[in-house]
Amino acid sequence: MPVVYLIYALVGVLFGGVLSILPGLHPLNFAGIGVFVYLTFPMDPLGLALLFAGMLVAYAVIGTITTTYMGSPDDSTMYMAFPNQKFLVYGRGHEASVITGVGALGAALLLILIAPISPTLFPIFRKITTPHMGWILIGVAAYLLQSEWPKDWGSRAKTRLGRLKDGWASLSAGWLTFILSMLLGFIVLNTPVTPADRAFQNIMPVFVGFFAVPWVLTNLVSRATIPKQHIGKDMYVRKMDLLRGTSAGFLGGMFAAFEPIVTAGVGGVLAGHSTGTQGDIQFMVSGAAGRFAYYVGAFFLFWVPLLHLTRGGMAWITSVVYQPRAESDFWLLVSAIAVSAVAAFVLMYLISRFIARIISGFSYTKVSLGVLVCIIALVYGFAGIEGLILMTICTGLGLIPPLFRTRRLNMIIGFFFPIFLNMCGLRADVLKVLGVY
């Protein structure tokens, strides 16, 4: 009864839609909620898996609303946070939401288009690249660190040394962010600081501290007021921007979904550089497409016949209750993604319209304060007091990039670098050098 299963997916969209507008939530939390749902309401495992699919699609499409209106981005939405908030300041917040929604829909379309060749293509990639994963990940980290350029905006210092110092201020801060995040990664990834019963939420406070809280604090300091939002039917974008943004974002997102540890933000930067992404619109579309490909793509790979690659929190938790068996299951998932994406887009449109109507005139300070309270409550609820302490430490780290105009992705690369080193067999050596092994 495929129709019944599609209803499961639509219920997932509704559930995920509600959760997506809570700032600071991450699919890793969804995975935790998934366990709760399964234990409380035993149901058909395939139906539950498709409900998770609906939730994930909703998160990928609707979750950008918090970035646009409330300024609480995560790693996957950092890429578009700046242009989206700029649109909000110009009274075009709803338009920004729709543009990012279209980007996500584009990624859904591409995912559906590659579905027929996926059982052939992805197993080949997996087979060939698996033994090379270590140096590929080190290469990604090396590129991201090497490709950050100075942001002195043209130093006015009179001497060569003065100019060099100005230029290297942001670069040094970038390296400092990387090193401190790496040290944190060695600690948090070795010894979970959250209580044992919530160990699966270990990384949530880190991500919230790195991205969401610093952005909210910055908004609090800026004391801006949200202007009246224009709610029209227009969306000023070119076809080429949609095409380039969607394809770049999709490639980056799928790379991140396929490779372990690589996140949507990292994949987005790599794909953006490779395809020459330019301009606010392309960044917004690309960011949304990348986010969709990363979260939903990772779940999709779990279902691909002959592949069954388990990547991402949702795939891991689903693998406990359900394992895809027949090819028909895969096509059911593809259908569920298609239906859920359209439903999530409609829901996102309605939610965005509603928020755009009521948010104008609000003090951004009050909105940001509300968001901050919400984030703190969620982190406390999911990860306890230890999680809050971890979040505070990560917030300190997360404030370095906006203060010194350096790349925020250095935090992600640094945090996961211990895993990269482990894959290259270098972790023990580095730990010895650090004196902790």
Partner: protein, 394 residues
């Protein structure tokens, strides 16, 4: 070419070396990454070090709230005149600063070297965002928008379009006195000098070889570096290949635009396809579990044809068709026609980008002799042929 293109090209040449690939498979070596690091290093050295070492004779740093285009034009023209009085081979340098007026707002202005009229033209534009999207209502009044100043010497300028000074760090210009008495405009003179020379590449390679004791590592370092120089020479600017023996940067081959998204994406994709071929081939040396025999049995030429040539010919044809179609056309929207300032800002921003992508079609650009251009491509092809043939024995 973009940084990621150079980086992945360096990685690609490294994956031809059997010893490094088998080392990565059996002992988790990450030395292949050195190809990428050295592939990007020339630009790293230029934009993180050399840029700060440049000394300027004139620094133009206007007040964004009181722009005086005439003053800017006169200062630049004076530097061109001063260059005419130098000895051949000497240069005067001018730095133009960008003008940041908000978190994402810049005062834009543009410089044009009008060779025919022998004048420097300066136009003050509106405030723009980092992406170059103009803010309407910020344009200066007509009488304060333009400055023109005459210069005396014959000017050689190959860029062929105005230089816009918007976001990030501003450009610098060198005015080089030539032996024939003319003055040549050198765009960002610090760039592609010592850091883009073969000599420095050889020094790094020798150091890598001496430190590691592996000649393959030295070869990877040199090839990563060398491929950067080869790729760069395909564009508008060349390199100073034999610094310190040679003193100046050569002209590029004008084959592709460094910022062109099609060529960058094509190069990155082709590199990934070649890396996968090499991975598949060397995986077979270690374990059959990680190899796809169907790819190996297909053969190299058919693989390159079907995996790279066919899809990119199709994409290239569509891209060319699209460029021709949009060349003379104002951009348009998919859901609604532009109305009011919001629509205009959106479309004008896009126009700025379209102009950038089309600038290589300016007719007056001088192209190097066809033989040089063929030779440039030939070097590239020969390197890959050598790597494909001899890589499996290195």
């Amino acid at each position: 070419m973009r940084g990621v293109t150079h980086f992945i090209m360096g990685i690609t040449v490294a994956t031809f070396f059997k010893s490094l690939m088998v080392g990565a498979l059996l002992e988790d070596w990450w030395l292949i990454v050195l190809g990428g690091i050295f592939g990007l290093l020339p630009d790293t050295l230029d934009f993180k070090f050399a840029v700060y070492m440049e000394q300027h004779h004139t620094v133009i740093d206007p007040n964004p709230y009181d722009m005086r285009p005439q003053e800017i034009a006169e200062k630049i023209a004076a530097e061109i005149d001063a260059a005419a009085n130098l000895q051949p081979g000497q240069m005067r340098k001018v730095k133009l600063h960008t003008l940041k007026i908000g978190p994402d707002l810049w005062q834009s202005y543009a410089i044009n070297f009008n060779k025919a009229q022998k004048q420097v033209e300066v136009r003050v534009g509106p405030h723009v965002t980092m992406s170059g999207v103009p803010v309407f209502g910020t344009e200066p009044p007509a009488e304060k928008a333009v400055g023109v100043a005459k210069f005396k010497p014959k000017l050689i300028e190959t860029y062929g379009r105005p230089t816009e000074i918007k976001g990030f760090s501003g450009p610098s210009f060198g005015f080089l006195k030539r032996k024939d008495g003319a003055v040549e405009v050198v765009f960002i003179p610090f760039h592609r000098q010592w850091a883009h020379s073969l000599t420095l590449g050889i020094v790094f390679a020798l150091l890598g070889w001496l430190i590691s004791g592996m000649w393959q590592l030295g070869a990877v370092i040199f090839l990563g570096w060398f491929m950067h120089i080869v790729l760069d020479s395909f564009g508008h600017l060349g390199n100073n290949l034999f610094w310190p023996i040679t003193k100046h940067r050569t002209s590029g081959l004008y084959l592709v635009s460094a910022a062109n998204p099609y060529w960058n994406a094509f190069t990155v994709y082709s590199c990934i396809a070649i890396i996968l071929w090499n991975m598949n081939m060397y995986n077979a040396e270690v374990s059959t579990s990680y190899t796809v025999p169907a790819i190996s049995s297909l053969g190299l030429i058919p693989y390159l044809f079907f995996v790279i040539a066919v899809p990119w010919s199709i994409i290239g044809a569509i891209y060319y068709w699209w460029r021709q179609k949009t060349k003379e056309q104002k951009p348009y929207e998919i859901f609604a026609p532009p109305e009011g300032a919001v629509g205009l800002v959106a479309t004008e921003g896009m126009m700025g980008m379209m102009e950038q992508e089309h600038y290589y079609e300016i007719e007056e650009k001088p192209k190097p002799h066809i033989l040089w251009r063929i030779m440039g491509v030939g070097v590239f092809v020969i390197i890959f042929a050598v790597l494909f043939i001899f890589g499996p024995s290195w």
